[in-house]
C-alpha cells in the first residue's frame, strides 16, 4: 500500500468511525449497527480488497453507481414521508427525530455519495470507498427493512408483520447495487491478472 493509499484509508476510517459513533449516540445501536458495521465496515473491507489499488474504470462503474444513488434518493423519500426517523426511535432506546433523520440521512449522506460520483469519474480513491460503501450498504442494510425492522416492531409493540417506512423501495437499490459490486470485482480481477 502506498502512502497515498494509506492516507485515503485513514480518512475513510475516520469518516466511518465518526459517523457510526454519531449514529450510536443519536439513534441507538440498531441504525449504528446497520449503517456502521454493514455499510461502512463491510464497504471498507470490500474497498481495500478490490478497488483501493486500482480505482474501477468509471465507464463501467458510473452507470450502476448513479442508478443506485438515484433509487436510494427515492427510498429516502419513502422513509421521510412515512416518518422513518421516529419509527426507528420507537424501536430502540434512542431519540432519533424526523429532524435528525432529515439532516443526516436526507442531506448529509446524499451529499457524500453525490460527491462520490465526481470522485469516481476522476478515478479518485475516494470514489472507490464511497461506491463500495453504498453497494455494501444496499446488499447488507436494505433487506433489514423487510427482515429486521417490521419483526422487531411486532415483537416490541405487538400486532403482526406490518408496514415499516421504506419497505416498498428497500430492495430497489439492491438491484443496481449488485450490478455495481459485480463491476468492481470484475475490474479488480482483471487488474490482478494483468
Amino acid at each position: 500500500m502506498t502512502n497515498r493509499e494509506k492516507l485515503y484509508v485513514l480518512v475513510a476510517a475516520v469518516i466511518s468511525v465518526g459517523f457510526t459513533t454519531h449514529l450510536f449516540h443519536s439513534a441507538d445501536p440498531l441504525p449504528a449497527l446497520v449503517i456502521g458495521l454493514c455499510a461502512l465496515g463491510a464497504g471498507m473491507v470490500f474497498w481495500i480488497k478490490t478497488s483501493l489499488k486500482h480505482p474501477t474504470d468509471p465507464n463501467l462503474l458510473l452507470p450502476p453507481y448513479l442508478l443506485t444513488a438515484a433509487v436510494l434518493m427515492l427510498h429516502i423519500i419513502e422513509e421521510y414521508i412515512f416518518d422513518f426517523g421516529t419509527m426507528i426511535g420507537g424501536l430502540s432506546q434512542g431519540n432519533w427525530t424526523t429532524e435528525q433523520f432529515v439532516l443526516s440521512i436526507g442531506y448529509g449522506f446524499p451529499l457524500v455519495w453525490i460527491f462520490g460520483a465526481i470522485a469516481i469519474a476522476k478515478r479518485n480513491h475516494f470514489g472507490g470507498f464511497v461506491s463500495c460503501f453504498i453497494f455494501a450498504g444496499m446488499l447488507l442494510g436494505e433487506p433489514t427493512h423487510l427482515l429486521v425492522f417490521p419483526i422487531r416492531e411486532a415483537i416490541l409493540h405487538g400486532g403482526g408483520y406490518d408496514y415499516f417506512p421504506g419497505m416498498w423501495t428497500a430492495l430497489a437499490p439492491l438491484v443496481s447495487g449488485l450490478w455495481g459490486i459485480s463491476v468492481i470485482i470484475k475490474d479488480a480481477k482483471q487488474y490482478a491478472t494483468t
Binding site: P58, P63, L171
Partner: protein
C-alpha cells in the same frame, strides 16, 4: 485549479446500457418479494401464498424458457386474452363481494387483513395488474426478458388463482360452495393452458417468412 478538479477521465466513445443478464433475475426477485409482502400485509395470507406460488412457478418456467432467449411475440394474442379474462373474473368477483366473502367464510384458513375491502381488492388485483400486464405486452413485443417473465406469470396466475376457487370450498365446511369468480375460472384455466401449449410448441409452429 477548478478546471483541474472538474476535468474527468470520461470520454465520448459509445457505451451501451448493458447490465449483466442476471440483473433481470435480481430485479424481478426484488419486485416480486416486495409485492408478496405487500399482499401479505394488506390482503392476508391466502392471497400471499397464491402469489408466492405463482412467482415460484413463473420464475422456474422462465429460467427454463424465456430467460436465455426471449419468447416469441406471437404469444401476444393469448397473453392479451388472459388479461381480458383476468378483468372479467375480477368483475365477477367484485359483483359477488369475493374478498369480503373470503374474510367471513374462511377466517381460519384465510386470515384476510381487515384494512382491505372489495374496493382495494379490485384496485390491486384487477386494475393495477391490468396496467402492469399491458406494460408487459409492450415488453413482450420488444422481446425483453422481463416481458417473457410476465408471460409465465400471467399464465401461472391464471391457473393457480382460479383453481383456488374450486379447492377452497373443499377444505372448509363453513364457506359457500360457489365462490364468486368460479364461472370464469374454467375459461381462465383454458386460456392459460392454451398459452402454455403455444410456448412449448413455439419452435414447431414458427411461421416461415414468405
Amino acid at each position: 485549479m477548478i478546471n483541474k478538479i472538474l476535468n474527468s477521465n470520461l470520454d465520448d466513445s459509445y457505451i451501451p446500457f448493458d447490465p449483466p443478464k442476471w440483473v433481470n433475475v435480481v430485479a424481478i426477485l426484488s419486485v416480486v418479494i416486495t409485492i408478496m409482502l405487500a399482499i401479505l400485509i394488506y390482503f392476508g395470507v391466502l392471497l400471499a401464498i397464491l402469489t408466492s406460488l405463482t412467482a415460484a412457478i413463473a420464475m422456474l418456467a422462465w429460467l427454463r424458457k424465456g430467460y436465455t432467449t426471449p419468447l416469441s411475440r406471437r404469444i401476444l394474442p393469448v397473453y392479451i386474452l388472459a388479461i381480458i379474462i383476468n378483468l372479467v373474473q375480477g368483475a365477477e368477483q367484485h359483483a359477488g363481494h369475493y374478498f369480503t366473502l373470503l374474510g367471513t367464510s374462511f377466517p381460519n384458513i384465510v386470515q384476510v387483513n381487515s384494512v382491505s375491502s372489495d374496493m382495494q381488492f379490485a384496485a390491486v388485483f384487477s386494475f393495477a395488474t391490468a396496467a402492469i400486464y399491458l406494460f408487459g405486452a409492450t415488453a413482450i413485443f420488444y422481446q425483453t426478458k422481463i416481458g417473457s417473465f410476465l408471460v409465465w406469470w400471467i399464465f401461472s396466475w391464471s391457473v393457480i388463482f382460479p383453481a383456488s376457487h374450486f379447492l377452497l370450498p373443499l377444505i372448509s365446511e363453513s364457506g359457500p360452495a360457489l365462490l364468486p369468480g368460479i364461472i370464469t375460472a374454467p375459461f381462465s384455466i383454458f386460456i392459460a393452458a392454451t398459452g402454455i401449449w403455444h410456448i412449448q410448441n413455439q419452435d414447431k409452429t414458427q411461421m416461415v417468412p414468405a
